[in-house]
């Protein structure tokens, strides 16, 4: 069955408006939040409910074509990069909150529901949904499930896998299956919900998600501390952890990142800071008061400390940090954002090493990171129009990941492996480990139709060189990538 026939079948089953075939519109789906990888989908389908997803997946099964699921298209590892000969299944129209059950602290949502919308829906009643990725105003719950997304507050509250207690998934052979305990806490059998979350769309498509709701804390205090150096800021975090405190968030930005944020949103962080540390404490008021005093004392080396408890001033402190990624666009034409993790105690040493790598390559690296759990986001800045700059940037970027793994860390803390880091996965896992993981994939998707080419390095992909259609206006993607090549059929 060709894609044309598939399109006709789906138009008949789901309606005209659910199927996109014209090239220009299809092309707008060629990438997610990581624009370095682009591939035009063969067909785009927008189902409105689980049955629509099922119909689409069944059609793919019958046509023997692959499918890729996409939520809001904001992922940072090209996890939603389409298959040129396959179908892109977009869940953006599946955005109903199906049920809110406050006595059991659960809500059931469709995958296209935007993360922040969950908190908005239950906020007036005093509840919220804890995982808060920086893109939460647009990223979808379905996407969060695929990537096991975290957010600044995951150091205390955990990730998506700790806040999702049940799923309905559409498997690659088109069955809708309930997994997990739903409104209860534990169901008998294997924890299939637990392995599905973070499987990056390779085991199927989640069509309903049971989320756990959390009680909004009584008190929240946000502290901004300015230090002369990143080392000092990191030492303060170590002291906070050693003192047995559990901050709800601990973020550090270095001077370059601060400068970008200032240029973008005039966040007004203390001038001359080598690093700022943002610590957030939340919980019962009496505990937050005690913790605030303790944290302030432990930031003794800071040359300025600001404390805020009311929402506006707290938002003002966060504004700079939240704008950081997009803000570096103002101080650099292009950038690569990495997502490595290291043991928290290795922070100072690794940052020094990153600095060394960067200056050796003549590249600037701005650092923003979740200091509480060692998740780094080095922003490798370069100018794509400068010959060789992209290559050097990618080299530094790759070296940073190698460094993280060599210190016992991870290549990805929250953005996922996707296409972008598939080639690096063998740094962390040997052939037996990867083969064992494939057993799980084979159990769910023996024909390999669900988001193939993601997560696991494939020999075919590694051999492809000379990336495809250059990003409009940008230098051509060079050979170092393992991305999908030119996939357009139009």
């Amino acid at each position: 069955m060709t894609l044309d026939v598939l399109a006709r079948r789906l138009r008949r089953d789901l309606g005209d408006g659910a199927v996109i075939t014209d090239p220009a519109t299809r092309r707008t789906y060629e990438c997610d939040g990581l624009t370095a990888y682009r591939s035009m989908p063969g067909l785009v389908v927008l189902p409105e409910d689980a049955e629509g997803v099922q119909a689409t997946v069944r059609a793919c099964r019958d046509a023997r074509v692959p499918f890729v699921a996409r939520g809001s298209g904001t992922g940072l590892s090209a996890g939603a990069l389409p298959e040129a000969d396959g179908v892109l299944i977009v869940t953006a129209r599946m955005r109903r909150i199906l049920d809110v059950d406050l006595p059991n602290r659960r809500a059931v949502v469709e995958p296209g529901v935007i993360n922040l919308e969950v908190s908005r829906a239950v906020g007036p009643a005093g509840w919220y949904y804890a995982p808060d990725p920086s893109s939460q105003q647009i990223c979808s719950i379905g996407g969060n499930v695929a990537e096991n997304s975290g957010g600044a507050h995951c150091v205390k509250y955990g990730f998506t896998v700790h806040h999702v207690t049940g799923l309905e998934v559409c498997t690659a052979d088109g069955e809708l299956v309930r997994l997990g305990a739903g409104r209860a806490a534990q169901a008998p059998g294997y924890d299939l919900t637990g392995v599905f979350i973070g499987s990056e769309g390779t085991l199927g498509i989640a069509t309903k998600i049971w989320v756990r709701l959390s009680r909004s804390p009584q008190a929240v205090c946000t502290i901004l501390a300015a230090f002369a150096s990143v080392e000092q800021a990191g030492a303060a975090v170590s002291a906070i952890v050693a003192a047995g405190l559990r901050p709800a968030a601990a973020e550090i930005m270095d001077a370059l990142a601060i400068g970008a944020a200032e240029a973008a949103v005039s966040c007004g962080y203390p001038p001359g800071a080598g690093a700022v540390l943002i610590v957030e404490l939340d919980g019962p008021e009496v505990e937050v008061e005690a913790e605030t005093a303790a944290v302030t004392a432990l930031c003794g080396e800071a040359f300025e400390i600001r404390t805020a408890t009311d929402p506006q001033r707290r938002a003002a402190i966060w504004r700079g940090r939240k704008s950081a990624f997009a803000a570096v666009g103002r101080i650099s034409r292009d950038y690569i954002v990495q997502d490595g993790v290291i043991p928290r105690t290795a922070l100072a040493e690794v940052l020094r090493e990153i600095e060394r790598l960067a200056s050796a390559a003549g590249i600037r690296v701005a650092n923003v990171f979740h200091a509480g759990d060692g998740n780094l986001h080095p922003l490798v800045l370069y100018d794509g129009t400068e010959p060789g700059a992209l290559g050097r940037a990618e080299q530094v970027s790759g070296a940073i990941l190698d460094l993280c793994v060599s210190r016992g860390g991870s290549i990805t803390g929250e953005h996922g492996v996707g296409v972008d880091k598939a080639a690096k996965l063998p740094l962390m896992f040997g052939p037996d480990d990867l083969a064992t993981m494939r057993l799980l994939r084979d159990a769910f998707d023996p024909d390999g139709r669900a988001n193939p080419g993601k997560v696991f390095p494939t020999p075919r992909r590694c051999a492809e060189r000379g990336g495809g259609v250059p990003a409009p206006g940008r230098a051509a993607v060079p050979t170092a990538r393992t991305g999908d090549g030119d996939g357009e059929s139009a």
Partner: protein, 438 residues
């Protein structure tokens, strides 16, 4: 900046998507700011023909809600204008005919006044699938309703477009009543603090002249000499926001010239769309060496009436108006000019007046210039949402700063079975400033 530089600034983060009304309605990438930028760039790079992207650009309201949402500072307002220019020449014949008709009508108050009360024939408007009929199933709350099945990338059939437009026009019927003639100059009451010129506009002057009259009275009471130049033209906002740049430039030059002769400190308007367009004259005429400096000076002097009144500070006494009103932020006031505080400040200065915020107030009502005539289906869905949000506040009156919004919201409220009225901010102020009968 050329279109490539403008679109290069987009890093594809997607933060604009939740702010975009058409993305909220349809969930399609191509009907989001990020997608439209991508489409415009495709055309600029020769990857797509203008005709392939026209539908998606036409569906853009131009509400500019995406601009403040963008963390990278992408100038979507400039990009969409470039885009509209790109597709303008590639439109099919019937499409161009409708648009030509609209833009031969709208910028001209006398022509508008002439068609007031004229109803389109039944055969044209009656069988078209339009606005009110195309409402999707289910309640229109953002989180619970799925969007319409909408063919993307395809321009609707010609007959139904014209018919739909005609029917929408019928629904958006302006209020009855004769035009209030305005004098050429009105003197300030009490100490004169400024001399200002008033732009009477096209739709405003044809259908809402009582609002302009109220504007004149309030300005006078607050110490302004008001000059209302004769022979003033439309400011060009409607054609400008629709990509008809040549017509917009012509009208801009005429407007500048008219007010240059008037010798005023500021050019005041009570129409959000006009203020927004006039403040952009510098950019519009930047390539015209003869007019560029004049345009820049002119643009600097443009003020929305609420803006000017706040700048001057209140002097006239206000009497109490014990009402609850919902204030609606017109997109070209809030997003286009950054004016959200001033109207609220003025309303707050009226004793006993209670102003309530409309939930989801940042989302466009669907008026968007002539959008509600050219794209009646999404416009009416957005109008319905706005009406529901307003009704939820329990307000007794709606206050807005733009005639387009007024027509759109009024029609939507009526569809919802409500007799709630919509008035201009300045009309409320006028009522508060009017001296109590002795």
């Amino acid at each position: 900046m050329d279109i490539r530089e403008l679109t290069d600034a987009c890093v594809h983060c997607g933060f604009c998507l939740p702010a975009c009304p058409t993305y909220q309605l349809w969930g399609t990438e191509a009907d989001s700011p990020r997608g439209r930028i991508h489409l415009i760039r495709q055309v600029a790079d020769g990857l797509a023909e203008p005709a392939e992207v026209t539908g998606h650009l036409d569906s853009c309201l131009g509400c500019l809600a995406c601009v403040p949402a963008c963390p990278s500072g992408v100038r979507y307002d400039e990009i969409i204008e470039h885009g509209r220019e790109l597709v303008e020449s590639a439109r099919p014949v019937a499409d161009r005919a409708v648009r030509a008709g609209l833009f031969a009508l709208f910028p001209y108050p006398r022509r508008l006044a002439a068609v007031r009360g004229v109803r389109p024939p039944q055969w044209l408007a009656g069988d078209a699938r339009t606005a009110g009929d195309a409402r999707g199933a289910g309640t229109d709350q953002r989180s619970t309703a799925g969007p319409d099945q909408r063919s993307t990338g395809q321009i609707p059939r010609q007959r139904s477009t014209i018919g739909a437009t005609a029917k929408a026009a019928a629904e958006l019927a302006p209020p009855p009543g004769p035009r209030v003639p305005l004098p050429r100059r009105v003197a300030a009451r009490g100490t004169r603090r400024a001399v200002v010129g008033l732009l009477t506009g096209c739709v405003q002057s044809a259908y809402f002249s009582p609002v302009s009259a109220a504007t004149v009275r309030v300005l006078a009471r607050e110490g302004c000499d008001v000059v209302i130049p004769r022979g003033q033209s439309c400011c060009g906002a409607l054609p400008l926001h629709a990509g008809r740049t040549a017509q917009a430039r012509r009208l801009a030059r005429r407007t500048i010239a008219t007010f240059a002769r008037a010798g005023v400190d500021a050019i005041v308007t009570d129409v959000a769309g006009c203020g927004s367009a006039m403040k952009e004259y510098a950019r519009l005429l930047a390539d015209d060496p003869r007019w560029a400096p004049r345009a820049a000076r002119f643009a600097e002097a443009v003020r929305d009436v609420t803006e000017l009144l706040c700048d001057l500070g209140p002097v006239a006494p206000r009497r109490p108006l014990p009402w609850t009103v919902a204030y609606h932020d017109a997109c070209h006031l809030g997003y286009g000019q950054g004016i959200t505080a001033q109207p609220r400040e003025l309303l707050a200065g009226v004793p006993q007046l209670r102003v309530v915020e409309v939930p989801d107030g940042g989302t466009c009502c669907g008026s968007a210039g002539v959008y509600n005539l050219l794209q009646p289906e999404p416009a009416s869905r957005l109008g319905d949402r706005k009406a529901q949000a307003i009704l939820a506040t329990g307000a007794e009156l709606v206050v807005a700063g733009n005639p387009g919004c007024t027509l759109q919201i009024q029609a939507a409220l009526r569809r919802a079975g409500s007799m709630l009225k919509v008035r201009h901010t300045i009309e409320l102020l006028d009522a508060a400033l009017r001296p109590v009968a002795a």
